[in-house]
Amino acid sequence: MAANTRDIRRRIKSVKNTAQITKAMQMVAASKMRKAQTAAIASRPYAQELARLLLPFSSLPADDESFAHPLLQERSGGRELVLLISTDKGLCGALNTNLLREVSQFDPANTDFVCVGRKGLQFLVRCKCTVLADFEIKDNFSYFNAEAVAKFCMDQFVNGKVNRVTVLYTNFVNTLTQSVVRHQVVPVRSFEIGRVALEDGDGASDTRPIPDTTEYILEPNQSDFLGSLLPHFIFFKVFHFLLESRASEHSARMVAMKSATDNAKQLIKDLTLEYNKVRQASITTEILEIATAQMILS
């Protein structure tokens, strides 16, 4: 009996250690998630301005011949480039599993991949997919990291190596929900910038008049000006997707770690109950033994 109580005590101790670690990871993930959200909020003024400058674009009819830009031209068939934004580390629930399931929808023979995050890379290598590049992006990444990734993908399109660039990432809906999103960035189809960037509380900037391009002098000329906005629009979009993925990663990890901590606590409770039962049983046996011995003696 004594050996059994010692075993249970040891198990309780080790579960307690695990709970401590998962609790710490939960806290770290929570603070990182807040940081990613702050960065997304800080990028709002830029997103709004960019969206305002792009408005004249969105009012153009889809088949307007007067304005043609390579980044707007649809080319059918050909190879496709997928920018896969996954996480570097695991322990974030089903986040990567859901994301990588989506990868199978692309035809591996006809698709090139660019990776952000080690988990995605490992998966693609296992599946023997073509990986053109793998960007390492740290937690506190800057806009220029995103620009490098986006520029690389855009160049593949401009050079004619691929005919489409799609980004596969996890969108941050709220702390409990992240959804896998597949978004085509090149050729540019819509001029919307993501939800987090534009969902706006202050409303002050919305009252500003929409720039009417006929009132402005445009240097060097209208189509060049609008055309040069496009790459920046794409860079910013990729930056935004990276922020979304980061926020998703940390919130998923936070939730996973919270449930791990809760499970550990429940386990400790069960083990403690069992420990007490065993202890009580051994005490009862001992008393019985003493009582029997006394009865025999008297």
């Binding site: 806009y143 220029f144 490098a148 445009l218 240097e219």
Partner: protein
């Protein structure tokens, strides 16, 4: 009251500068452009370089990246991918970054993704150094 311009310099990471200023010198695509209040409405592309702000007779120099400017009679809104005030530029760090990027590109040992990163980092570091040096070197002579 002297007429002023509302200047805003916005990057994806922050609003780098927001103030009422007297004049701003913008490195526009067709040449540097001094903007005073009541400027004709204009939009232009901006090249990486030096932006100089005049406020209360004092000059502030900023290293800026690529982007766009929207100029109206009362407002100048500048949208760039980088904006660093001169006093925040770390010259030795920028120099080291230039060195590193140039070496990496020269040696050509890099994988695709590293070349892309190195080129952009080189561009930004050079812009910072340009601003830092242009101001200090001539006054030393």
């Amino acid at each position: 009251m002297a007429a002023t311009l509302k200047l805003e310099i916005i990057t994806p990471e922050e609003v780098a500068y927001r103030d009422d200023v007297e004049m701003v010198l913008v490195p526009a695509e067709l040449g540097d452009m001094g903007v005073y209040p009541m400027h004709v409405p204009l939009m232009t592309r901006i090249l990486p370089g030096e932006l100089i702000v005049t406020k209360g007779g004092e000059l502030t120099h900023l290293a800026i990246g690529e982007g766009f400017a929207e100029i109206t009679q009362t407002n100048v809104r500048i949208l760039v991918d980088m904006a660093i005030e001169e006093r925040h530029i770390d010259e030795t760090a920028a120099e080291a970054a230039v060195e590193r990027a140039q070496k990496a590109i020269r040696e050509g040992l890099l994988a695709n993704q590293e070349v892309a990163t190195a080129q952009i980092s080189l561009m930004k570091s050079l812009a910072q150094l340009k601003v830092r040096r242009r101001r200090y070197l001539p006054t030393q002579g």
